[in-house]
């Protein structure tokens, strides 16, 4: 029996008169719709549906032929990497998809490297942020971010903006380690001093002790990296409760302060400075178009986030590659079409690094303020076109 999810993009319901030669290009999207990471699947899918309702469900190929772009959605269920791999195999072998996309978690994205090489299937990574992923196969392209892009940018910015001493409190998992490493590195390189560093358990919500240690160390700022949701909300609460905010210590963060999460914070969060590659309220026309379309289709649930923008830009890349190569080209041809591509993204200008197939993009420093009675991120600095620092530190071995 066909999974009902695959019916979402039911082509063939539309009359196809005069397009008897229409070809179909299938893309398999793997993301979690259930479990701890359930928001990702919906956010990806909503953005893709919004994109298709603006740009159409088909593109014209190089010979003027019509190519129907069909998405097949699969639930990775917040499970282990083997689940994602199994879904990828099923999509490639049974559904005959020509491309894979999605992947909110790094282990999921990494698990399909071999499949992509064997089946010559390009993979558009729409979130998984471990820097090394794109080195795993020549078929990877990433439209999201790498953690070092964030943490290096804010480390340097802090040192250049009057912050001399920082205490870092990061979550004890791979992205947290990346954040800590690159913050320390860039902050010290720009003349700053790290006065203390703690790593906390992954789902910690009792931060009193860490706040006490940070308070005693008398830093100018605390740098945090915590998973979005209850750990970061508890963190900000403890920060204010313990008197760090009153002592004039600044709070520096990352994606914890996305618009999606802001309504769940109390006003203690005002003044927090965070780094991101997408400021949801930016006034670019591309952003307005995406947000308006999502609101039109999904109402209040159409809030955009980094998942939406990565999916939107991923679709832009895919449509571009199809226009150039048609529906039945070799996998690497699509990758070649994406290399070096620049896009006016809703987040700002982006480029796909021609060597690394990873994203090069503006990084924004924002401060949380109350605008019209609502908490909102307001851009205070832009670092233009940042390449993944990890790749600069770890040049590819020529082989």
């Amino acid at each position: 029996m066909r999974k009902w999810l695959s019916g979402v993009c039911a082509l063939g319901l539309v009359a196809t008169t005069g397009t008897a030669d229409a070809e179909t290009f299938k893309i398999g999207l793997i993301a979690s719709y259930t479990g701890a990471f359930a928001t990702w699947g919906t956010q990806f899918q909503n953005a893709i549906e919004a994109f298709q309702s603006v740009h159409g469900k088909s593109v014209k190929g190089p010979k003027g032929e019509t190519i129907d772009v069909q998405l097949v959605y699969r639930d990775a269920a917040s499970a282990g990497a083997d689940k994602a791999k199994q879904l990828a195999e099923e999509l490639v072998l049974r559904e005959k998809v020509s491309m894979l996309a999605g992947f909110e978690l790094s282990p999921h994205a990494m698990s399909v490297a071999d499949i992509s090489k064997q089946a010559k299937v390009p993979i558009v990574v729409m979130n998984a942020a471990t820097a090394s992923i794109t080195r795993g196969s020549p078929y990877y392209v990433r439209t999201s971010l790498t953690i070092p892009q964030w943490s290096q940018a804010i480390g340097k910015w802090a040192a250049e903006n009057g912050i001399k001493k920082v205490y870092t409190i990061t979550s004890d998992y791979a992205p947290g380690h990346d954040a800590e490493t690159y913050f320390h590195k860039s902050f010290k390189a720009a003349g700053g001093e790290i006065v203390g560093a703690d790593r906390t358990a992954l789902r910690e919500t009792n931060f009193a002790v860490y706040m006490e240690k940070a308070l005693q160390a008398k830093p100018d700022a605390v740098y945090m990296f915590q998973p979005g949701g209850s750990p970061s909300i508890s963190f900000v609460k403890a920060f204010s409760e313990r008197g760090l905010k009153q002592a004039g210590i600044k709070l520096l963060g990352n994606g914890e302060f996305a618009e999606l999460y802001l309504p769940h914070f109390s006003d203690d969060v005002i003044g927090t400075i965070s780094v991101n590659h997408y400021t949801e309220t930016n006034s670019r026309p591309e952003n307005k178009q995406m947000r308006d379309q999502l609101t039109k289709l999904f109402g209040e649930k159409g809030v955009t986030d980094i998942a939406s923008v990565a999916a939107w830009d991923g679709m832009t890349l895919i449509y571009g590659a199809l226009r150039q190569n048609g529906a039945s080209a070799d996998g690497l041809k699509y990758i070649d079409a994406m290399k070096g591509k620049t896009i006016a993204s809703p987040r700002g200008p982006i480029m796909i690094d021609p060597e690394e197939r990873d994203i090069i993009q503006n990084i924004y420093i924002r401060r949380i303020e109350k605008v019209g009675g609502k908490l909102q991120n307001v851009d205070i600095a832009t670092i233009p076109m940042v390449k993944d620092p990890w790749k600069i530190d770890n040049p590819a071995k020529s082989n």
């Binding site: 701890a36 359930a38 928001t39 004890d172 703690d198 790593r199 906390t200 358990a201 789902r203 919500t205 009792n206 009193a208 002790v209 860490y210 006490e212 240690k213 949701g229 209850s230 909300i233 508890s234 609460k237 204010s240 409760e241 313990r242 008197g243 009153q246 999460y261 769940h264 109390s266 203690d268």
Partner: protein, 289 residues
């Protein structure tokens, strides 16, 4: 140095108080009827969400706490009569399976009603600020936890040591067959205790929301901590659960101060050591000692 030691102590005790308020009901009912109730955390979570909802609507904080306890107690009563009671003689596996099932049902319901994001209890402004306590400034919220926990411990102490209800309760925990034989209605006693226990859990979930933050996975995430308090303290031992909650709160705090990297393991290592030393718990009731 002294002020540092006092800070560690205050941090540890305030955390321990939350564990105590939530767990004390579980320890007494487990000691009394030997029912393994993994759903206990759900009542704390329900109390927390009720208080969160009411305070977000502008209800007075203390009224919201009271209603949170009442709501958890009422649901506790309902649950005891319909679900727990038939389980008394069913053996431990059935109890574990059924009560863990309740956890999943409550988690799904909470997600459906309130969403998957963390949920906020609006504390009064004066509880969200630090206050001057002589040698330093300290979060008012944590002092409030210590105060409330202390009052509850004292009230329970007088109730259990000084009242007829307490005498019956102790008798039933120590030897429930003999208590039945002399004509005590142990089932009624159990129901009453279960209600008080779940009401306290609801209260604990509400006032402890600043430390054990509310989210749909709360009931599953923290139930291990609550069970640890019960087992370390000694099943059925009110005093034991108090001592155990304080000890765990302080050990966890000291661990985070001095060996932050090992803190998550230190707590369980301590539990392991304590149980090797006193397998029946720190202060087990007479029936087990």
């Amino acid at each position: 140095m002294l002020s540092f030691a006092l800070t560690v102590l205050l941090d540890g005790i305030s955390y321990g108080m939350v564990l105590f308020i939530i767990s004390v009901g579980l320890t007494v009912t487990m000691g009394l009827m030997r029912v393994i109730n993994l759903a206990h955390g759900s009542f704390a979570m329900i109390g927390g969400y009720v208080a969160g909802y009411l305070t977000q609507q502008g209800t007075d904080f203390f009224l919201a706490l009271f209603l949170a306890a009442v709501a958890a107690g009422l649901l506790g009563a309902l649950c005891e009569v319909t679900v727990i009671r038939p389980l008394y003689r069913k053996g431990e596996l059935a109890q574990v399976l059924l009560t863990i099932g309740i956890v999943f049902v409550v988690t799904a319901l909470i997600t459906e009603i309130f969403g998957a994001f963390p949920y906020r209890v609006e504390f009064p402004v004066y509880l969200t600020q630090p206050v001057d306590i002589g040698f330093r400034t300290y979060p008012a919220y944590r002092l409030f936890l210590i105060l409330v926990g202390g009052i509850i411990a004292l009230v329970l102490w007088f109730l259990i040591e000084g009242s007829l209800y307490g005498a019956k309760l102790r008798a039933a925990v120590d030897n429930s067959r003999m208590a039945r034989a002399v004509g005590m209605n142990v089932n009624l006693l159990f129901t009453a205790t279960f209600i008080v226990g779940t009401a306290l859990a609801g209260l604990g979930g509400a006032i402890g929301a600043g430390i054990l933050s509310l989210e749909p996975s709360y009931a599953l995430k923290y139930v291990v901590l609550f069970l640890v308090v019960v087992i370390v303290g000694g099943e059925g031992s009110f005093k034991g659960s108090f001592v155990a909650a304080m000890a765990l709160g302080i050990i966890d705090t000291i661990g985070k101060y001095f060996v932050a990297a090992a803190a998550p393991y230190l707590l369980y290592a301590a539990v392991f050591a304590l149980l090797l030393w006193r397998p029946q718990g720190i202060l087990p009731p007479k029936s087990l000692a």
